[in-house]
Symmetry: C2
Subunit: 339 residues, 2 copies
Amino acid sequence: MGNRGPTLEDVAREAGVSRATVSRVVNGVRNVAPEIQEAVRAAVARTGYAPNQAARSLVTRRTGAVALVLSATGGSFTARLFSDPFFGRVVDGVLPVLRERAVQPVLLVAESEPARLQLVDYLRRGGADGAVVVPLDEEDPLPGMLVAAGLPTVLFGRPRPGVRCGWVDLDNAAGARLAAEHLWASGRRRPATIAAPVSAPTARERLDGFTAALAALGAGPVPVERGRFTEESGRDAMARLLDRHPDIDAVFAANDLMARGACRHLAERGVAVPGSVAVVGFDDSVAARDSAPPLTTVRQPVEEMAAAMTGLLLEQLDAGAPGTGAKVFAPVLVVRESA
Amino acid sequence: MGNRGPTLEDVAREAGVSRATVSRVVNGVRNVAPEIQEAVRAAVARTGYAPNQAARSLVTRRTGAVALVLSATGGSFTARLFSDPFFGRVVDGVLPVLRERAVQPVLLVAESEPARLQLVDYLRRGGADGAVVVPLDEEDPLPGMLVAAGLPTVLFGRPRPGVRCGWVDLDNAAGARLAAEHLWASGRRRPATIAAPVSAPTARERLDGFTAALAALGAGPVPVERGRFTEESGRDAMARLLDRHPDIDAVFAANDLMARGACRHLAERGVAVPGSVAVVGFDDSVAARDSAPPLTTVRQPVEEMAAAMTGLLLEQLDAGAPGTGAKVFAPVLVVRESA
DNA sequence: ATGTTTCGGGAGAGCGCTCTCCCATGTGTC
DNA sequence: GACACATGGGAGAGCGCTCTCCCGAAACAT
């Protein structure tokens, strides 16, 4: 706006000192006599001075803001964004870390391709010093775009191959092991699994982790069917599983939605859950709690991961260059009624 | 970051023209020969130039960004923020308007008092050109702070007295009238209402609108009990209502939560809804759809209001000064099962 | 052929700030 | 008393951009 407020010059005149001195007082004070500091502070208050961030950024090359980017390639994004508590948990993890460092958190949503371009442009121009990115789809091009633009970036989840940036992720294999051990401990000896497309690294880890853990426990070969992370595909996979292996007594699905689909199919077939077949999901999404029965599932420590992600970004900013630091987190088993 | 990319100067050298010409091409082109434009564009592409927003803002006094501020004074804010679809609807209304004008939307959350101060500071320094604010509490001090800082501001909901800024709001009286007429039309002749604290202007409008509409229809005096917008208080108010006026056949609550509380109490007392007593809520929040039975309620055209709010802000920005334009919207009755 | 307008493009002055010099004082040492 | 040496604070050079001038050349009118 044209609201040209008072400038350093004005405050300096008011306080009877030089511009440089006011600047020293306003920022980290270095070698300024206490009485002068007082005079300057008084002048600042009197004039209602607020530093011009543009001018400051021009010389410091810093904005003092960090972007929290929520990106998705699918449609009706905001509806999902503001109904899945997952994002709230991310925000809850990110905010305190930023606040503590007096860095302004700025939420950016990229709900479409044009939005994504505009967003990258904004950040390239210097809209924020770095970005903490939560991509909702594995194929989201945004992380790659940001990294290519030279922006310090940290992802929630592993980056696609070729994209060099920081990230945090869940130890998916460990999560699958938790599920396997829980099922085994509760006496299930013929478990199967509903995996997801091989293209998703996350899904492969969960599958491999599950079979490896069961092998270690002494189980035989584990029947596997693939879904596409949707409830419908989980339902279909369950049907195939049951047709081919009528004796299975447990199912581990690579996400909650598919687990829910599996439950639905089991209910349709009149198979008791967890009586005859136990079901374990993954993610602890809303779907898990709302299912019938409520799903036993593997939960990510989202707040912790988000906080760590933010920490990694701040490290990059302190270092003055994009980095590739990463952290892997341990999952937690949430036992509800389905297993 | 220290990523000092190419500057106008570099591009100018590359293209064999002056800084000014490159600037002309990069921004709205004015009087530049087509072949030179082409040369400049090629140079931009070759160098990977991105304008430095700080430098640009320093002279234009514009950032090209608008803040969408979500503010609340209560605790556990983000949990609420990311589970109530209301905010998703606001965002859905705001984004398209901003995108169309190539203005970068920036979401800011103010979940605590320190956060609020930091946010105002950020905006005063020139973090964005203006703010579209969604205060969740009537007593939220943030709008006042922003207006006092001279920032172009538009509120969702009427500002508190003394705060001069733009706003959009729902015609609450009209909404209450919709409820009254619906109840009357369905044969209810002894309606009561659960109002909210007199301090909330919104609530007063709903109460007055309801009683006025009923008076116009020829109804007798309307029993009134007050709640505090919570489910529990709605339940208690319903209990008092029923104790004092056992013959009532309809209840209009000033929000969905209280309506739900009322339903719960009616169920506890074994009173059929809507059989014996019809219940109408207000807001069409999640609570309305999830209630048993699903609530008939008065809905705000949130997306439309958010879009209008954004339009008002852009008008202020075009005018170059904060303004006080406002718009009032007509509510919509959503008939479900409770009335 | 000269004067007048139009149009394209360059020069250069800032925007408000930070930060590196550098100078003017004090303070300590022999 | 002469020297070194902290220490506080001012001067001024940019940071990268926009935008107002201004000038040269081409197009038109006289």
